[in-house]
Structure formats: C-alpha cells, structure tokens
C-alpha cells in the first residue's frame, strides 16, 4: 500500500504496534473470557498520550493529527478490539470539549480527559433514540445556576469508569432544542445502571446511565442552549473514522490469523495455503484490508487538513465494517472446526467484528449520509 505519512506518524504507528504486541495482545483472550475492564492497560496508554491524541498539548493532549490517530487505533484494534473502542471513545469525548468549550472549560474539563487522568464517555443514545438523535427525550431543566438532567442513556461505552460523560439533553423542542453537558462523575443524581452483556468487545465497558435530577452546574454546559446537536455532530463524524480504523485493525487480525493457520494446518498432504479455495479467500481478505486502510486514512487525512470529511468517514466506516464481516467469516472458515472454538483468536475476532456495522451509525445510516452528501454535491 502507498499512503504518504510523515516521519512522526510512522514513529507513532511503530510505537503503538510494539505496545500492542507486547502489552495489549497477550491478555486479550483472558480479558474477553472474564469481561474484566483493563484499567492498568488503559493507564499505560494514558501515559503514552493515547487518550487525548488530537488535543493540543496546552490542554493535556498529544497534539497529533487524525492520520496518526487512525494508525494508532488500527494497531491497538489488531491486538484487542475491546481496548481499541475504549480508547476511541475517550478520544472522541475530547472533541466537542475542544471545539465548543470555553478556555476555562478546556482547562477544567478537557485537560483531565486528554491527559488520560480520567476516562471520557459519550452519552447520546437512549432506549428510544438510537440512529435518530432528534428523538432524544432526556430533559435538562434550568434551576438557578444549574440544570437538572432527567432521563436514561443506554449503550454507554466507558460509562462505569468515565470521570466525565458528555450528555445530550433536551432544553427545548426540535433539533434546536438539544444541549450538550459535561457531566462529572459524582455529581448528585448521576447513576451508573446495569452493565450490558455483549456478544463481543467483552472487555469494554457498556452500561446504562441513569440521570435522576442530576445536578449539573451551568458552567458545565457546552456552548449555548440548543447548540447540542452542532456540538456533537463533528465528533460523530470523527467517531466513524475511529470505528473504520478499529474495523481495519480487526481486518488485519483476520488476515494474520488466516495466513498463519493456512500455513500451519495440513490437509490432503498439503498446507491449507496450497489449496486454491483457501488462497482465494486470503486474496479477498488482503484486498479488503488494503482498501479499508486506504479509505480510512484518506478520510482521516481530509479531517486533518480541515476539509469536509463526513462523506468519506461514512464510506470508510461502511466499507471497512462490511468487509470485516465477510473477512471474519472467511478467516474463521479457513480455521474449520477449530475456528469455532476458543482455542484460536479468530473466534473472538469474529464476535468483536460484528458490532462494527452497527455502532457509530449503522451501515444503513452511513448509506443515508453518503447518499445525502453525494446528491448534494453532484
């Protein structure tokens, strides 16, 4: 593959790849089995500056671009997709704070997340509002110098461990009635509900968040009342680059596992890799990986250059995740019966892969975005 990257980007990729091989990969299977959240691992990642990658150093971040971010997510995801999504979400939660926070908010609320002292979470989804954010019903009522937030958020990644959760709540009606709040852990009325038991990404934390007249100081409101949708929209587009990168990392894992097994396993007096039926599957996985990587890095490069990237981020996310589903199927197929057991990583990869066509916007939502942008432009 040819995609020009800077010397720093290459160094970041190599460092994260080494970190992923030595620190992330070894415990991935055990964490999947136990469902234990890797607090120590996340602390190590924070030390390396992987939690607020795109935040300027002045606010505790690493000050790198979206390309380096995508490369880093790919490497972590290749080793453990659970750890990758944890990393993606805390990075993602920095974006609205950086874009809409006041100087005071950036210092007080953003810096602890960007420097990795605390984890960030992003609480948009509700039981009745998934793909359509305008159906959010969580209410924020102003009382004196504070807002009282009332409602339930579901599928909140990092929710139980986050020191800061961005919440989208309703201060008025319609699209312009949504407002974003930075809710610190420990504010009265902020409760972590039940943990969701998932098919994959079992070492990532996914919970319900219950807001029971949660008291949020006005100083924690991000932007003005009614600016909530605007505050989070760009972060949602960025989030798609993150998940495209996660899917690309998993594609790499599929290819690595499939080729390794195909070389080792012998049937009909030849290694599997000597059979054309297997070779064709390897070729398809490899081509899918190459394409997904290019689309993802291209979307990241657009974002880095300050150009519109919503359409490209959706394309990358759609393509990488859908290709991953097929590739994980093929990589497991190559493993035969062994692929269906917990003895081989491909079983976990197969389960982890499944959600990538769903979260951060389903494939269907991505197509909506791509069609809307394409029809507008042409």
């Amino acid at each position: 593959m040819y995609f020009p990257i800077s010397e720093e980007e290459k160094m970041i990729q190599m460092m994260v790849a080494q970190f992923a091989d030595r620190e992330v990969a070894p415990g991935a299977a055990a964490r999947d089995e136990s469902g234990e959240f890797p607090r120590e691992l996340v602390a190590k990642m924070a030390q390396l500056g992987l939690c607020g990658m795109m935040v300027p150093p002045a606010y505790g971040g690493s000050g790198v671009g979206a390309v380096a971010y995508a490369l880093a997510v790919m490497e972590v995801s290749r080793a453990c997709a659970s750890t990758a999504v944890t990393m993606c979400v805390t990075n993602l939660s920095c974006e609205p704070l950086l874009a809409f926070g006041t100087e005071e908010q950036k210092k007080r609320l953003l810096a602890p997340v960007a420097s990795g002292k605390i984890l960030g979470a992003f609480a948009l989804t509700e039981p009745e509002a998934g793909s359509n954010l305008t159906e959010i019903s969580c209410r924020a009522e102003k009382k004196g110098g504070r807002y009282l937030l009332r409602g339930t958020k579901v599928f909140i990644t990092n929710g139980a461990y986050a020191g800061l959760t961005l919440v989208l709540a309703r201060t008025g009606e319609g699209n312009r009635g949504l407002t974003a709040f930075a809710v610190e852990k420990g504010l009265p009325g902020f409760k972590v509900g039940r943990e969701i038991h998932k098919m994959g990404l079992r070492a990532s934390n996914t919970v319900e968040i219950l807001l029971e007249d949660c008291e949020v100081p006005e100083a924690n409101r991000l932007g003005g009342e009614g600016e909530g949708l605007r505050a989070v929209t760009n972060a949602l587009y960025s989030g798609r680059i993150g998940i495209a990168a996660q899917a690309t990392g998993l594609l790499q894992a599929c290819l690595d596992e499939a080729t390794k097994y195909a070389r080792e396993r012998r049937q009909f007096k030849r290694p599997l890799s000597g059979h054309q039926a297997i070779q064709w599957m390897i070729a398809e996985i490899a081509t899918g990986l190459e394409s997904a990587r290019l689309l993802t890095l291209s979307a990241a490069a657009l974002k880095q250059r300050g150009e519109p990237f919503a359409r490209e981020a959706s394309m990358a996310k759609l393509f990488a995740s859908e290709t991953l589903i097929r590739s994980a199927y093929q990589a497991l197929q190559i493993h035969g019966g062994y692929g269906y057991t917990r003895e081989f990583p491909i079983e976990r990869i197969y389960r982890d892969a499944r959600v990538t066509t769903i979260y951060e916007g389903t494939s269907e939502v991505q197509k909506m975005v791509i069609a809307r942008e394409t029809l507008r432009e042409t």
């Binding site: 720093e8 160094m11 970041i12 190599m14 460092m15 390396l48 150093p57 690493s62 080792e264």
Partner: protein
C-alpha cells in the same frame, strides 16, 4: 553526567530473512527496521541515570545508512537529548573493527563520562564492537551487564553480570567506561506521543568520513579485517509434531514414538 549510547538499527525480530541471489547479503526491501533490542536497554539505562543526576545529557550515536535516522529519532522520542549518525557510502562493508574505529573516532571529542550500548546486535550477533570501542578509547569495559549502579560522585560504576551456575560477578570500573547491556538490565519505556512530536526538534547531526578525519581505506570494506564470503539460510526443519491429550497419555504416546518411530530409546 555526559552519557553516550551506541545504537544500531537492525531488522525487526519478526522479519523473514531472505538471501540475495548472489549470496552477498540479505534482501533489505520491505524490511521493518527497529532499534537493536539490547540497545533499547542501553537507552533506557541512560535515561534513568539522567533522571537521577540533574544536568545529565544523553547522546545517541549510530553508524549506518540514512534510514538509521529514524531509529535515532526513536531514542530522542524516548527522551535522549541529541543524536549523531555516521553515514558515508564508503562505510559499506565495514566489519566490527572498522565500525568500532569510526564510532570511537566520533566519540573521542565528546568526552563522555559513560558510554552505554547493547551487548550485541541481533542482526549479525558479533558482540565485538563494544569491546573494540573500549580498546580504541582506552576505557575500561564491562560487558553483558544486567545491573548498573553509578556512584553518587559519578566517578565509579558497579556492574553486575550473571555467570555460570546462576552466580553473579560484580565489577567496579572507573568512569569513563563502556558498559554493554544484557537483557534484564531494565524494562525499556515506549516513546510517548508528546516525546515523538518533540524528537524532530532535538539536535541531530550527520557526519561523513571526511568530517571525521578518516579515510575510506581505514574503515570501509578495504579497512575491514574480516570478509564475508557468502550468506545462506539454515536447512528447513521438518515440522514438529504436537501430541494431544492428557499429560499421562501424551507421555506414553511420546515414549512409544521415540521407541518405534525415531528408534532413539
């Protein structure tokens, strides 16, 4: 303290080595280049000493082709202060002797209090350069060290090494000295992202032979005392066999195979 670290860029340990058709070397296309793992220990140890002794500096020195800059930058990203690369086409084909001579020459004017390096490079595994550098510089040497303690006044270093039977040998050397790191000396840090972003702005110089005051005949292929005749890969091993089942049954099966198939017991 002024600390120098000798570093070599080597192929990643995962690299599948291929030999050139004329057997004169390995195919370098597509190789991922990394810092020699033993040199990582040396860089880390230098940084730890620097963190303890205020005002210390760490300089990374390497000899190799242009691409070695990337690996020097990794050292700078880890926290080293400056880097020097000896890069000259005439150095192609240098052996350990010639390499040590050039490295010693570049370090002479630096007046390092301590020189750290890996005990060997994992590409050619010669394990000769550190000793030769020490000879050229007239310094004491402590090789294959897995614990290093520099005295408070910075005048002496106590070096520990494992020897036969699990025993330890303790050496004391006057500084300046050259100390070569063994695995276990420390756990090297990763370069942090902010460290990586700062690396490019740190002082780095590239030196050719002319600037060093050396002639190609002294340090290149012509100055080498050793000539490589050819490279070849070891014969491919037959795949191993895994005996499944409970340990008791597997052991029984193994003995049976050793007796009946391999006929060795």
């Amino acid at each position: 303290m002024k600390i120098g670290v000798l570093m070599k860029q080597v192929p990643d340990t995962e690299t599948k080595i291929r030999i050139k058709d004329d057997a004169s070397g390995i195919v370098v296309d597509g190789i991922k280049w990394v810092m020699n793992p033993y040199d990582e220990y040396a860089v880390e140890e230098a940084l730890r000493i620097k963190e303890k002794k205020a005002g210390s500096t760490v300089t990374i020195i390497s000899m190799g082709p242009k691409r070695s800059v990337e690996t020097i930058r990794t050292g700078l990203a880890m926290g080293a202060d400056s880097g020097i690369l000896i890069d000259d086409p005439a150095l192609e084909g240098a052996d350990c002797y010639a390499t040590a001579k050039a490295l010693a020459k570049v370090m002479e004017p630096e007046n390092f209090d301590l020189i750290l390096c890996g005990k060997q490079a994992i590409d050619d595994d010669s394990a000769q350069v550190p000793q030769m550098v020490a000879e050229f510089l007239g310094m004491p040497q402590a090789m294959v060290i897995d614990k290093l303690v520099v005295s408070d006044d910075g005048k002496k270093a106590t070096c520990y090494r494992r020897i036969e039977g699990g025993a330890k040998e303790v050496l004391e050397v006057d500084l300046p000295a050259i100390v070569a790191a063994e695995k276990g000396l420390n756990e090297p840090r990763y370069a942090s992202l902010p460290g990586i972003m700062k690396a490019k702005s740190k002082p780095f110089k590239e030196i050719n032979l002319g600037a060093l005051g050396l002639k190609a005949e002294e340090v290149g292929a012509k100055g080498a005392k050793l000539k490589v005749k050819k490279y070849f890969l070891p014969a491919e091993k037959a795949p191993g066999k895994i005996i499944p089942g409970e340990p008791e049954d597997a052991a029984r099966a193994l003995v049976k195979m050793l007796r009946e198939e391999a006929k060795v017991v």
